[in-house]
Symmetry: C2
Subunit: 316 residues, 2 copies
């Protein structure tokens, strides 16, 4: 199909072709995609977990990144919030904002791929014309009522664990902006996956406190510290990628401490869970202590920290 | 607080001030706004109803409309999908896309007002910097499992009923674009309210087929006809506002037939429900017959219809 034809496809036909024709109905869907709203049943004893995130071209991904992988990435970023709570991904609703029909279709394909790979069902959405390309992804999952991992449940004496990478995505973004289109770091940025299975396992192991690292390790550790009324003492020596980051980048330590967008999971747990956490591939990177804020140590030294990670409106 | 100060408020502080400080927790909220995701319990025997819609400045509202009423309106438009299913509004997640902190705050105030007026709870959201102002509103409601009103449940012999107005909002938009800033039609566009109570009553009365008129009467009637495998014969003589629209606008009939954005409810029901529907203020505007498509009559004459209402991508 040539571009000319694609541009002449109307909104309803595009929605039909992109979304309705791919609608998968799971046992919880009572009214599927295609009505005014979708209707869902929850399993007995389950609670609903919901998050909604926007991602825009030129803000959340480089403007010269193809829209299909960009939309795939945006869906994974939203799903990461479910991973952080320990939920099983069930349903997604995606609002596509597109400059034209070509952009709409490109983002739609990325959404379809990403949702399918997560085991969730595309339950609805919206397509609107916009002067900037982007999408808002709303994700819903389920978990046993009362078992959600929260950021306010860290306790002094817990150890701190990391699942996944930190600094790799922002290193990849920097390489991209310098002209690279492949390589380990670029792949880490473009190919981010929500750690849904890991999050669900953590919750089943009995972990009660978790956050996904979207804003940067120090900032997200600070969210746990503030919500839980404790201090987090991070020891960066165990951090994956840090040796390589500091070798390849002058500010590699900064990338690891403040670089967001990797969607790793940061959790705290009592000592008794250490063996289970190690079996999952989690790395111990510190301990929860009484007090407030975040303390960082590396190579035996205290590292001073700056207050903020990425903040969309701080530099307005 | 002066604008300069507002512009210097960071994303987290803005989220805190706009959203978290206004967080209301209802009995179904297990983890409120402020964590990676919100967690909710549903009443026993209830199903979840979800819809997600975007609204952008310059597309869904005039660029010179103030952002607070525009965001209020966008929330009502999203809630209207819950009204069409007959659901009780419970939770909203709002992703704000703003050019700067002033726009963010203005839209945030509109969201807070609109959500509060609907009886729902703001359960989460996102704030991102964007080159265009807009928001994606995800709404969730509950209803008794199996009782949702759907667009595929019209049966030949049903009568067709309208609750609310058609054509008034698009008339108001036209007046706005011609320079008017008040008056009946402008108020109808700016002050649209989702008919949540009416939708819930229709469902309780036993109505099984309903849609909200977002795209225009004829187009949305077509959605019911197509989904249900029937034809809808509309008789416009009973239509509220039509006399006034045809008096004040040369194309008043077109405004009533194709003007969207009023968020009226269009439903079909068996004869036995007529008295109840009238008691609710619904107006009988036709009958469901065998066949396909939509037939329109006015003043004893068949009116030819064009195929489409508003389509964001048709004129790309």
């Amino acid at each position: 199909m040539c571009d000319k034809e694609r541009l002449e496809i109307g909104e309803f036909e595009m929605i039909e072709r992109l979304f309705l024709s791919h609608a998968v109905v799971d046992e919880g869907v009572e009214v599927p995609n295609g009505d005014d709203a979708s209707v869902h049943r929850l399993p007995v004893g389950a609670s609903l977990v919901v998050s909604s995130d926007s991602a825009l071209s030129g803000v959340h991904w480089p403007q010269d990144m193809a829209l299909t992988p960009a939309a795939d990435r945006a869906v994974q970023a939203a799903l990461s919030d479910l991973a952080a709570m320990g939920a099983t991904a069930r349903w997604c609703w995606v609002a596509l904002m597109a400059q034209d029909g070509v952009a709409l279709e490109a983002m739609g394909q990325g959404v379809l791929h990403s949702v399918a790979s997560s085991g969730a069902v595309l339950a609805g959405g919206d397509c609107v014309r916009s002067s900037c390309n982007g999408l808002t992804v709303t994700v819903a999952g389920t978990l046993d009522s009362g078992s959600a991992m929260r950021r306010d449940a860290a306790v002094a004496g817990d150890t701190i664990w990391l699942l996944g990478r930190v600094g790799a995505a922002v290193a990849g973004l920097r390489c991209w902006l310098a002209g690279a289109r492949d390589g380990e770091w670029v792949d880490a940025f473009c190919g981010v996956r929500a750690l849904l299975n890991d999050g669900a396992e953590l919750r089943r192991y009995g972990v009660r406190c978790c956050i996904d690292i979207s804003d940067g390790l120090v900032q997200d550790a600070g969210h746990i510290a503030r919500a839980s009324g404790v201090a987090l003492q991070l020891d960066l020596d165990g951090l994956p990628d840090l040796e390589q980051l500091t070798t390849e980048f002058d500010d590699g330590l900064q990338l690891a401490m403040y670089g967001g967008e990797d969607y790793a999971l940061l959790c705290t747990a009592p000592d008794g869970l250490s063996e289970l956490l190690q079996s999952l591939g989690a790395v111990n990177i510190g301990v929860v202590i009484t007090g407030s804020g975040v303390v960082v140590r590396w190579r035996g030294q205290d590292i001073s920290i700056k207050e903020h990670g990425f903040d969309h409106f701080a530099t307005v």
